[in-house]
C-alpha cells in the first residue's frame, strides 16, 4: 500500500514529477552533434600540440621544462649582460688579472724592514 499525499499541492507536484517531458528527436540530434563537434575540435587542438606535449613528457613534465627554460634564459642573460660582480672572477682578461696581482702587496712590512736594515 502506498501513501498518497493528502495535500492537493503535493498531489500536483507528484503528478508533475511522473510526467517529465519527452526530448524531441531533433533536439537530441542537435545536442549530440554539438558533443561531436566539441570532441573533434578538442582532438585537433591536441594533435596540433602533440609534438611539444611528447617532448615535455619526455623531459619530465612541465616542472622540468620550466626549470630548463629558466636555466637557459639565465645562461643567455649572464652571457649577454655580464653582471658587475662577475668581473672579479673572470680569468679571460689576462692583463687586468696580472695588474691586479702586481698591485697586491703580499708583504706590507718588508720595505720598512729593509730600510731599517
Amino acid at each position: 500500500m502506498t501513501d498518497r499525499p493528502t495535500d492537493p499541492l503535493e498531489t500536483l507536484f507528484a503528478q508533475a514529477r511522473q510526467a517529465p517531458p519527452d526530448l524531441p528527436d531533433d533536439l537530441f540530434a542537435r545536442i549530440l552533434a554539438d558533443a561531436e563537434t566539441v570532441d573533434q575540435a578538442r582532438h585537433k587542438t591536441v594533435a596540433k600540440s602533440g609534438w611539444w606535449r611528447e617532448l615535455g613528457t619526455m623531459l619530465g613534465g612541465w616542472p622540468s621544462v620550466a626549470g630548463l627554460a629558466t636555466a637557459a634564459v639565465a645562461g643567455v642573460w649572464i652571457g649577454v649582460a655580464q653582471p658587475v660582480g662577475l668581473n672579479d672572477f673572470t680569468l679571460i682578461d689576462d692583463s687586468e688579472t696580472a695588474t691586479e696581482f702586481d698591485l697586491v702587496d703580499l708583504m706590507p712590512g718588508f720595505d720598512i724592514l729593509a730600510a731599517e736594515g
Binding site: Q15, A16, E36, V38
Partner: protein, 194 residues
C-alpha cells in the same frame, strides 16, 4: 586480462562526463538521454511555458557541459547540480532581456480578488493548473519550488544551484508553496479536491 567495461547506462553522471572528455561520444549519448529531458522540463517551467526558448536553453546548457568536460573534477560537484545552475542562469538572463522577469516582491501575496486564470480548467488539466500557478510566482520562488518539489533536489544542492544559503532556499520554497496554495485555492473544486 582486460577487465570488462561497465555498461554506460549504469555509470554515474560524473564518470560519463569524464569518459566523454576522453573522447567517448557514446557516453555523451547516455548523458543526454539521462539529463536533457530534466533540463528541458526545468527550462520550460522557468521560461513560463515557452517551449522553443526552453529547447534553445537546453541545447546551450548541454553545449557548455561538453566544453567543460575535460576539466571536470570528479567529486567537486554533481553534474546535475552544475547543469541546473547553468540552465537557471540562462533562463533568468532570457527572462530579464525579454522583460518577462517577475521580481521577488511581485508575487509574494496574491490578491484575493485577482482574476483566476485557472477558472476554465477542468479536473483532468491539473498539471496545467500547476504550471499556470507556477508562472505567477517570482522567478526565484519558481526556481526554488521546481527544484525542490518537482526535480526532487535536496536543499543544499538547490543552494548551490541558486548561489544562496540553505536557509534562503527553505524560505523561498515555503513562501512559494504558500503563494501556490493561495493561487490554487479558488480552483480546489475544479481541480477535484474538496
Amino acid at each position: 586480462m582486460q577487465m570488462p567495461r561497465a555498461p554506460l547506462d549504469t555509470c554515474p553522471d560524473a564518470a560519463l562526463l569524464v569518459a566523454y572528455g576522453r573522447g567517448d561520444t557514446e557516453a555523451a549519448r547516455v548523458l543526454t538521454a539521462r539529463l536533457a529531458p530534466r533540463v528541458l522540463g526545468f527550462a520550460t517551467r522557468m521560461l513560463k511555458g515557452d517551449r522553443a526558448e526552453a529547447e534553445d536553453v537546453t541545447q546551450e546548457a548541454m553545449l557548455r557541459l561538453w566544453k567543460m568536460a575535460p576539466s571536470w573534477e570528479q567529486g567537486a560537484a554533481r553534474v546535475s547540480t552544475w547543469l541546473f545552475r547553468v540552465t537557471s542562469n540562462l533562463c533568468l538572463d532570457r527572462l530579464r532581456k525579454s522583460g518577462r522577469a517577475t521580481p521577488l516582491d511581485d508575487a509574494d501575496e496574491p490578491e484575493d480578488d485577482a482574476p483566476t486564470v485557472l477558472a476554465r480548467l477542468e479536473t483532468a488539466q491539473r498539471h496545467l493548473a500547476l504550471e499556470t500557478a507556477l508562472d505567477q510566482l517570482s522567478d526565484r520562488q519558481r526556481q526554488a519550488v521546481i527544484l525542490r518539489h518537482i526535480e526532487g533536489m535536496a536543499n543544499p544542492d538547490i543552494a548551490q544551484v541558486m548561489d544562496i544559503s540553505t536557509e534562503a532556499v527553505e524560505s523561498l520554497t515555503a513562501r512559494g508553496k504558500r503563494a501556490l496554495t493561495a493561487i490554487l485555492a479558488p480552483q480546489r473544486e475544479e481541480l477535484g479536491y474538496d
